[in-house]
């Protein structure tokens, strides 16, 4: 790159193609397992290695996953879609064609609304611990802008195997365990105008496919990977610039780096008077650069045609309705409900719907504690619980504090049996496995809040008598002295006194 790119002049256009590996037991066209991590080629059946004479048969569950996705994004589930062969030679593609869908995909259209803004895109991601995300979000009180991203289509296809380029006497090793793994390729319109939008979309999509249970989203294992089509054009120009496709982005960070690099590179090329030529490029995380793939140079004529071994995939409206009835509530609907019924803020609702597990935890807590305590429940789930989970690197499913236990704490806060401070102590105790619920810990440790008016009055009298100096300072106008008096009262009761009552009574006595 020779010159410093002048970003202000250029509009960025990005479209994403995402490959989501579907959560099935077996492959899309064979009865092989898709479990990750098997010995090389141990999960490559006759069909997967394309022995002469073998034939594909479609896995029902892969179709179910596609239908769920179509419903989740408001797309059209095609009543008839067609499997086609995409022909090209590559050693990890055993038939030398990939079975995919071309002219008639299983899902057409649909869209995703994603939040874009400083830190806001991480709302729907689980990459960051929730309590940290919450902190970021609290710093952005204005709701981040929402971006409507249209989907072109989603189609079913099979994955290829893996080429291992480590040295086998100068040769490449081929492992076909992954060949035939079911994928849903989800294609957007070129609707994104910045890296941030692209990453926000990818994160929202990642959350959605996990939410509806069609993909485990494990990016390290390649279960969710994106190709980004990137081009730039001068602002105001109607037609798109020539695009380059960045292949196989398997982390959000790499996606951010790769697209940023690619944009800068393209702008610099154009500003230096060179033309962009259409190309497929790879991102190298070590250098932070993208480079052209030699292997894709002549692969542009795929000779798609309907696969004669597979008949048209017909999906009846009844089947779609049946699957629709089993669909979980989608995050956006759930957020709206949390705002309306639980009176949560939009950002609380978004936080709590980061994953189906988290949302279920929260909902179960509210169910036990009562809807009136929803806000307290939300604060605890997003605060203490989330922090503790991330500290201990524990999954919410393994949380030692169950929704039932957390609800027992919330109830005691609400009825003023305990203060927030004591509540945290109880949460700690439950986390350590001490006690079955809040009440057992309260009783065992004697943590019940002192709310008896007589007892508090006696306590306040005692504190006033013993701290004449503070009383005088307060009367002289030092507000800080008041806090010291409250502190003394709390200390004397080991935090069990109802702080509100103590404060009220102290003010009353001092102003008398």
């Amino acid at each position: 790159m020779n010159s410093v790119a002048n970003f202000a002049k250029w509009e960025v256009v990005i479209g994403l193609e995402t490959h989501a590996q579907l959560r099935t037991q077996s492959k899309i066209f064979s009865g092989s397992s898709i479990a990750f991590g098997a010995a090389p080629n141990a999960q490559a059946s006759a069909v997967d290695i394309a022995l002469p004479g073998v034939l594909p048969v479609l896995n029902r569950e892969a179709v179910v996953c596609a239908i769920k996705f179509g419903l989740a994004v408001g797309g059209t589930v095609a009543p008839r879609s067609i499997f086609a062969r995409k022909n090209y030679f590559y050693p990890d593609l055993p038939k030398a064609y990939q079975i995919s869908q071309f002219e008639l995909p299983v899902v057409v259209g649909g869209s995703l609304d994603v939040s874009v803004g400083a830190g806001a895109e991480s709302r729907l991601s689980t990459a960051e611990p929730l309590h940290r995300r919450e902190a970021v979000l609290r710093e952005t009180p204005v709701p981040p802008p929402s971006k409507h991203i249209r989907l072109t289509r989603a189609h079913l296809e099979e994955d290829a195997g893996k080429s291992l380029h480590e040295d086998f006497h100068g040769k490449t090793g081929i492992d076909l365990n992954r060949a035939g793994t079911p994928l849903l390729e989800i294609v957007t319109e070129p609707d994104m105008r910045s890296t941030a939008e692209a990453v926000a979309y990818a994160k929202a999509l990642h959350a959605l496919v996990r939410w509806i249970g069609i993909c485990d989203g494990n990016m390290a294992e390649g279960s969710f990977r994106c190709d980004a089509n990137v081009s730039v054009r001068p602002f105001g120009q109607a037609e798109f610039g020539t695009r380059r496709e960045i292949k196989n982005l398997n982390s959000f960070r790499f996606m951010q780096q790769a697209i940023d690099y690619e944009i800068a590179w393209q702008i610099a090329e154009i500003e230096d008077g060179r033309k962009i030529t259409q190309a497929t490029v790879l991102f190298d995380p070590d250098t932070g650069e993208t480079r052209s793939m030699r292997s894709k140079e002549d692969a542009h004529d795929y000779r798609y045609f309907p696969d004669p071994d597979l008949l048209p995939l017909d999906i009846s409206p009844e089947w779609v309705a049946e699957i629709g009835a089993q669909m979980p509530e989608l995050p956006q609907a759930m957020q709206a409900r949390f705002c309306a019924q639980h009176e949560l803020s939009a950002y609380d609702a978004a936080c709590l719907t980061a994953s189906p597990e988290l949302a279920a935890y929260y909902e179960n807590t509210v169910r036990e504690a009562g809807i009136a305590q929803a806000k307290i429940c939300a604060n605890w789930v997003m605060g203490e619980l989330s922090a503790r989970l991330s500290r201990d690197e524990t999954d919410i499913a393994q949380s030692p504090v169950s929704p039932l236990m957390l609800a027992s704490i919330v109830r005691r806060i609400a009825d003023q049996t305990i203060s927030n401070k004591i509540a945290k102590e109880i949460f700690d105790a439950l986390w350590q496995g001490e006690g079955a619920d809040a009440d057992t810990v309260i009783d065992a440790r004697g943590l019940r809040q002192i709310s008896d008016v007589g007892a508090i009055e006696a306590l306040v009298e005692e504190v006033l008598a013993a701290n004449q100096k503070s009383v005088e300072e307060f009367r002289a106008g030092k507000e800080k002295a008041f806090n010291a008096l409250v502190g003394q009262a709390m200390k004397a009761t080991k935090g069990k006194a109802n702080p509100q009552q103590v404060t009220d009574l102290l003010r009353k006595k001092l102003s008398a």
Partner: protein
């Protein structure tokens, strides 16, 4: 009973059950005939007497246990594109010269389960591409009726072994006429079932939407017996049809009175040799004598079936044969510069001329800019052809005509002009495009005393009716019992 080599399957089965001879003796008989005559015919690519006799012994034990069926102990040979576990499946190609199939085709598994004894694997046009069996890496197959003539193709070995009585029955495939045309050239009864009747699993694909495994037999009666064992649903083939199992022998003896035979005007037009026409016409006379009535029908798009086929079949083949890349099995060129050079040299050395030609044709018609003009166009014409048949079957129960325009031609006669070779399938291809069942039965002799085949095409799933027609004709005629010199 008759001699082993001329006996029907039913007679062989009865003799096995009556212990007139054992399955081992029967297998040895055919193996020794093969040893004696196959040097001239070149019909087998692989034989393995040990394996064959082991299967025969198992069949004998089964018979002894009283667990035998109608085909137990009957020898069978397979066109070399059926995968038989532990046997080579070369497809007549150098590229699969060393390919030992690690699994059984569905149809092979069915016949194994029935207790049939594998005699060997049969020569064929490479990857089933050809009409004379001259496109084989393993050399041309000769017609048992005249060793200077072709047996037809692509199931040339399949026809030659049954005609020469080196096997009582054999399996071939039919993509554009590959069972019927050799059946006609060799005086046999061969039947291509309705597409989807027989599982394609384990049958190396040429053109997937057209291929069907097909029985080759001495008579309609034998054909029916074998077909019954071959058919049936297979979950591993998405195009396999879920239908009640059918006994194709059940209706053989129904009278033909009132049968409406459609004669397509287009099948009796120019291009049909007079000797063939004459034999067909005398067969029609016989069928009328059996009570059938003939009506003229029309298949207006018949002339387009050949060009449509030569777009669709090569297109599918170009993709089907891409898996032969020297990576996981089969031939790999000994010397190459890099990966792409390895692919290109492996395939250039591994495939023969006709196969390469069709791969190039198929690649071209699917490539960018030509797809609509050729591939899509051919698929539309395919529907027109199917519609023509649908309309014709409103007026008749079966369609009858010649299987081929000529009798078997001399070796080398058409090898220089692919188009002339393609024309040998002019009457057979349209039923593959439509997915219809069709068969050929011997109905006379033409020039040079060579057999002539009568083609019977029926509506979808009408195999029983077609076999009934064929069987009734064979009850009234003896063309199917004529033997070439080496089998007398």
């Amino acid at each position: 009973m008759k001699q082993m080599h001329t006996a029907s399957l039913a007679e062989l089965s009865a003799a096995l059950h009556a212990k007139q001879f054992s399955a081992v003796e029967l297998a040895q008989f055919f193996l020794s005939r093969t040893e004696k005559f196959d040097g001239d015919l070149n019909a087998f690519i692989s034989t393995d007497a040990d394996k064959t006799l082991a299967m025969a012994r198992a069949a004998d034990e089964r018979i002894a246990r009283g667990e035998a069926g109608a085909l137990t102990g009957i020898p069978v040979a397979y066109k070399d594109l059926f995968c038989v576990d532990g046997w080579r499946a070369t497809c007549g190609s150098r590229i699969l010269e060393n390919f030992v199939a690690p699994y059984d085709a569905h149809v092979v598994a069915q016949l194994n389960a029935a207790g049939m004894v594998t005699l060997g694997k049969l020569n064929m046009d490479e990857f089933a591409m050809g009409s004379s069996n001259e496109n084989s890496y393993y050399g041309a197959v000769k017609n048992p009726w005249d060793l200077s003539r072709v047996p037809g193709g692509s199931s040339g070995g399949t026809a030659a072994v049954v005609a020469a009585r080196l096997a009582p029955v054999a399996l071939g495939t039919d993509t554009g006429g590959s069972i019927r045309q050799p059946a006609a050239f060799c005086g046999l009864t061969g039947l291509k079932p309705t597409y989807g009747r027989v599982s394609r699993y384990g049958m190396v694909a040429y053109a997937s939407s057209l291929d069907q495994a097909s029985p080759m037999a001495k008579s309609a009666e034998d054909c029916a017996l074998l077909l019954t064992a071959m058919t049936g649903f297979d979950a591993r083939d998405s195009t396999s049809l879920q239908r009640e199992t059918e006994d194709f022998s059940a209706r053989l003896n129904e009278p033909l009175k009132g049968l409406r035979i459609g004669l397509p005007r287009e099948y009796f037009a120019d291009g049909l040799d007079d000797d063939v026409r004459l034999a067909i016409e005398s067969a029609l006379t016989e069928l009328r004598a059996l009570g059938a009535i003939t009506v003229e029908v029309t298949l207006p798009n018949a002339a387009l079936s050949l060009p449509a086929y030569y777009v669709i079949a090569p297109a599918e083949a170009s993709s089907n044969l891409s898996r032969f890349d020297g990576v996981r099995y089969g031939y790999r060129a000994p010397e190459y510069k890099d990966l792409n050079d390895m692919y290109a040299k492996t395939r250039a050395q591994g495939f023969g001329e006709e196969v390469k030609r069709r791969i190039l044709m198929g690649t071209y018609v699917l490539s960018h800019g030509y797809y609509d003009a050729f591939y899509l166009k051919a698929q539309k014409i395919r529907r027109l052809i199917a519609n023509d048949f649908r309309a014709a079957f409103e007026q008749c129960d079966v369609i009858v005509g010649p299987t081929t325009p000529t009798v078997a031609f001399p070796l080398g006669d058409k090898t220089d002009d692919p188009v002339q070779m393609y024309l040998a399938d002019i009457y057979t291809i349209s039923s593959n495009l439509a997915g219809l069942p069709a068969m050929s039965i011997p109905c006379g002799v033409g020039q040079h005393d060579m057999p002539v085949g009568l083609q019977i095409i029926g509506p979808w799933f009408s195999e029983s009716k077609m076999l009934n027609v064929a069987h009734q004709y064979q009850q009234a005629s003896d063309w199917h019992t004529r033997l070439p010199e080496m089998a007398r």
